[in-house]
Subunit: 212 residues, 2 copies
DNA sequence: CATGCTTGGATAGTGACACTACCTAACAAG
DNA sequence: CTTGTTAGGTAGTGTCACTATCCAAGCATG
C-alpha cells in the first residue's frame, strides 16, 4: 500500500506519517520509484502502536522511538527487552536532592522495598526512573503534610504486586518472544489510563455510596 | 511574609509566583502599600498544593485553578466538591465516534460497569471524563488486536474498587470538611504517580523473578 | 500524450503550554 | 541618600507535536 492508504487505514494524516518517518518512529517503505514507496501490514501495525503510545499513553515521540527500538533490539536479553518500556518512563522533575521532604521520602521508599521484598530494584547500581518518580511523588505528599510513610504505601505496593502478576501472565500467554515484548509494552503503557480511569470511577462510586 | 519569603519557603521562583497570581491560582496578598503585599501561611499552603498538582500530578495550570476553586466552593454539596478533581480530569482525545473499535470498547465498558455494580456512573446524563478516557484507552487496545473485553478488565476494576475504599477511608480520617476535600484532591491526583511507579517497579520485580 | 493528482523530501510555520526576562514607578531599609 | 525590593505589566523563550506549503518527479487517466 502507499502513503494515502496507510493514512486511510490508520486514521493518521499523511502529514503526521511523514513526520513520524522523519523522527524514525517508522521504517521508510520499500522504494518503488523516485516518488513512490510501498508500505506493508507491519508498517500499519507499528504505526498504530506508535499512535496508541503517543496519544493514549502520552509517551513523548522521542521516547516512543526508543521504546520501539529497544523492543526490537535482538542483542538484548528477554528481561531487558521486556523492561524497555519501564526504563524509558518519562520521569518528572528530579527529586530535589537537598530537601528534608525528599530525604523522608527516600527513607520511606527504601523501607517499602524491603518490606515488599523486592530485591531486584535494590540490587541496581542506580535507582530506576520509576523509583525516582516514586520518591518525588512521596516527597510532594510529605511536603503537604500527608503521611507518606510505609504503612500508607504498603497496601498500594501489594496491589501493584498483584497487578504485575496478572500482567505478566498475560504477557506469557503470547506465543513468540517478539509478541511477548510488544504485549509487555502495550500492557505497561496502555493499561495505565485504564487503571487510572477505573480508579477515578471507583472513587465516584464509593463517594456516592458514602455521601449521598 | 512578602513575595521573596514566600518564594524562599516554597521553592518556587518569584517570577512563577507572579505568573500563578496572574492565572488566578493564588489569591493576591493583603495590600500593605502601593508596592507591597503581605502573604500568610494559607498562601504558602495553597502554593505548595498548586505546585504539587502541576509538577507531580501533571495537571494543566488552568485545570488546577478550577480544581482548587471547586474545592473551595461552599455552594456545592460535599459529594460534588469531593468529585471536583475527578471531573476536571485532563482527558485524552475524544473516543472517535465513528469507529468499530470504539463501539466494541463502549460495549465492554458498559458491561463492565454492570458487572461491577457501579450504579452511580450509569445514572449520569452523560459519561464522566474518566468514563470517556476509559473507552478511548480500551478502543486503542482493541485496535491493536488485544482483548479488551470484560474478562480482562474485571480484575482491574475490582482492584480499583479496593483502592477507592482505602482512599475514602483516608479522606474520612480528616476532621473538617475542608480538610476532607483537600485530602480527596491530593489523594486522587498525587497517588496516581505513586500507583504507576509502584506498578512499574512490580513489573520489573516479577519479570526478574520469571526470566532471570 | 497532455493534464491533473500523488509522492517523497525538505523547510518553515502554528498553537498550546509553562514559564522567564525585563521594565517601570513606587516605595522600603540601612 | 543610596541601594534594593515590589507590584504590575508586556514581551520573549523553549519545548512539543504537529501542520502547511513548496518542489520536482513521476503515475494514472482520458
Amino acid at each position: 500500500m502507499r502513503l494515502a492508504e496507510l493514512s486511510e487505514r490508520s486514521g493518521v494524516s499523511t502529514a503526521t506519517i511523514k513526520y513520524y518517518l522523519r523522527e524514525g518512529l517508522l521504517q521508510p517503505g520499500r522504494r518503488i520509484s523516485a516518488t513512490q514507496s510501498e508500505y506493508g501490514e507491519d508498517h500499519l501495525r507499528r504505526l498504530r502502536l506508535a499512535r496508541a503510545l503517543i496519544q493514549i499513553g502520552k509517551v513523548p515521540v522521542a521516547t516512543a522511538r526508543e521504546v520501539i527500538a529497544a523492543a526490537e533490539d535482538e542483542s538484548l536479553d528477554h528481561h531487558e527487552r521486556l523492561g524497555a518500556a519501564t526504563l524509558a518512563l518519562p520521569l518528572g522533575p528530579e527529586p530535589a536532592a537537598d530537601d528534608p521532604a525528599t530525604e523522608t521520602a527516600r527513607r520511606s521508599v527504601a523501607e517499602l522495598l524491603r518490606r515488599l521484598d523486592w530485591p531486584f530494584e535494590r540490587g541496581l547500581d542506580e535507582p530506576s526512573p520509576a523509583h525516582r518518580a516514586l520518591i518525588a511523588a512521596v516527597a510532594a505528599l510529605v511536603r503537604l503534610g500527608y503521611p507518606g510513610d510505609v504503612e500508607q504505601l504498603l497496601p498500594y505496593g501489594r496491589l501493584a504486586e498483584r497487578l504485575a502478576v496478572s500482567d505478566l501472565d498475560l504477557v506469557e500467554r503470547e506465543k513468540t518472544r517478539t509478541e511477548q515484548i510488544e504485549a509487555a509494552v502495550v500492557l505497561t503503557v496502555l493499561y495505565e489510563p485504564v487503571l487510572l480511569s477505573l480508579r477515578r470511577l471507583a472513587h465516584a462510586e464509593e463517594s456516592a455510596r458514602r455521601f449521598l
